[in-house]
Amino acid sequence: MSLSVALTKGRLEKSTVNMLETCGYGIEKLRNKGRALVFPDTKKDIEYFLVKANDCITYVEHGVADIGVVGKDTLLEGGKDYYEMLDLKIGVCKFIVASLPEIDLMNKVGHITIGTKYPNVARRYFNDKSMDVEIIKIDGSVELSPILGLCDGIVDIMETGTTLKENGLVVLDDVCPISARVIVNKASFKLKRKEVMQFIDDLEGVVNHAQ
């Protein structure tokens, strides 16, 4: 049976496609995209499509895609109705808590506000720390919010830490590591078990080899 695979556009796209190529999959069409939205594999019975990270989960949960490749950051923020079967160990970064150095965020007495693109991740983290904080959802340039005085601190993704440093923010704590994961629709796993496991095993081989 044929498989449909949703790949996340952008940051993860290139390294995911490289991994598929190493597996020996026919990904030429993913390299020369043109205006197409769906890209058939030239060697295997697989169809790829490129979607935004959040949509990747939605497509997989509804079974429109059997398999998805998406960052753990998006998984932590979204739904849970899928199998998370493999860590591709690409797109590695982490969630951190940061603030201006003069604010002693973790020991502050009184009302604390946190700016973040990831309210669920932030809420869970501070809940585990038994800290009561107000979370303000911000959609871009989260680093700006403590500088302008909107928030006491932020929860955000950090790759190299350069942006934070340039804006005078210091990392207070790591929340959790992030990397790209392979997720599978539950029903697809049952009905196309052989094909799905083949796909996972192939990628797992590449991951283990790279280590």
Binding site: T58, H62, V64, Y83, E84, L86, K186, K190
Partner: protein, 368 residues
């Protein structure tokens, strides 16, 4: 402003969808009835405390809640199993078990996100109350016969047993909260986090291998042999042997090609006590049937009876099944000949469904 929206998670079902839904319901109910199950209708509204009492843990935000005139918290029922357990423990408190009940009712769950999930779905199901696991075979056959009526060739009933996981946890002395975390990771086949979680636990190699293998311990019946090899205690072997026996019985009944297993199926740890199963049909991204054994639920209502049941999620099936087109006989009539048209319609209704349509021509005409 025009108020034409419906609340998040709600859905109007119209035309073909509606016909398909009713057709499915009728077919399913026919199978249920043929197994001797009696229909039961309960109110859509229950006390919130009924659910609180039935489940150890309940996610408050999952339920639609409101108040009655005395300030008591009410809730739209989120399943039919709890109301039936309540009825069984009250209305049937003096009757001799076993009880066989069936239902076809709407159940409600609040959906927090815009993920296209439905807040109101129709559940068609059965509960067999008062018989222990010797009755598992009956319930599984009923589930398989029910799936057969969907008319989709490619369907699977996947069977697991929550005891397999629980007995292993008890043997290695994991506490309740550890069990819940582990069950969640295994049930979601979160291979990465599962490995990370198992690492610091004090387990023997065979035990670690057991838990790490659980999520993928499934597929056709050959996985039962592997499960037996991984079983590190006698009680675990017994669970597998029971599944093997069930499989043999189901094969003798001719269900062989529709049976698969998943020993890594451990949802709702505090609820299910034995076999758990889910039905899948080709083309549908959700399980369309789910159920299992829940021997402790009735106890929370003061009547300690074992029970097993399942329900079909009819709404998910509508996307993959299509009712045959509806034939309608059309009668066209001019002004002044309404009575003649209705007279003809009356006769024709013995043959089929008739609709009337006024037109400009002078005569009444019938289009079959």
């Amino acid at each position: 402003m025009k108020q034409i929206q419906i609340p998040l998670g709600m859905k109007d079902t119209i035309l073909e969808e509606c016909r398909t839904k009713r057709m499915l319901q009728a077919n399913i109910e026919k199978v249920f009835a043929s197994y001797g199950y009696s229909e039961i209708i309960t109110p859509s509204i229950e006390f919130y405390s009924t659910y609180q009492n039935a489940f150890n843990e309940i996610n408050e935000q999952d339920m639609y809640q409101f108040f009655d005139q005395d300030g008591q918290i009410l809730a739209l029922r989120m399943d039919m199993t709890v109301p039936i357990a309540r009825v069984c423990a009250s209305k049937f408190s003096n009757s001799e078990p076993p009880f066989r009940f069936r239902y076809c009712s709407n159940v409600y769950k609040v959906r927090q996100m815009f993920a296209g999930k439905r807040g109101e779905v129709t559940d068609c199901g059965v509960e067999l109350i008062g018989l222990d696991d010797t009755s598992d075979l009956e319930v599984l056959s009923l589930a398989l016969d029910t799936m057969e009526t969907f008319g989709i060739q490619d369907y699977q009933l996947e069977i697991g047993n929550s005891d397999f996981f629980k007995k292993a946890c008890e043997h290695v002395c994991l506490d309740a909260s550890q069990q819940l975390v582990l069950a969640d990771l295994i049930d979601r086949k979160s291979m990465v986090e599962l490995r990370e979680y198992l690492e610091p636990l004090a387990l023997e190699p065979s035990q670690r291998a057991f838990f790490q293998a659980l999520p993928l311990l499934g597929g056709d019946a050959s996985c039962l042999q592997k499960a037996k090899e991984l079983s590190f205690t006698e009680p675990l072997k017994k669970v597998v042997e029971k599944l093997q026996q069930l499989y043999n019985q189901l094969c003798r009944l001719g269900y062989e090609k529709h049976i698969t297993f998943d020993l890594g199926k451990v949802p709702h740890l505090n609820y299910y006590t034995g076999i758990i199963f889910e039905g899948f049909v080709a083309g549908c991204g959700h399980s369309v049937l789910s159920g299992g054994r829940y021997d402790h639920l009735l106890e929370t209502f003061g009547r300690d009876l074992p029970a097993c049941g399942f329900s079909v999620k009819v709404d998910y099936l509508i996307d993959v099944i299509h009712a045959p087109a509806e034939k309608k006989i059309r009668i066209c009539y001019p002004a002044g000949k309404e009575v003649e048209a209705l007279q003809r319609a009356k006769d024709l209704r013995k043959q089929g469904n008739v609709i009337l349509q006024p037109w400009e021509k002078p005569e009444v005409e019938v289009f079959l």
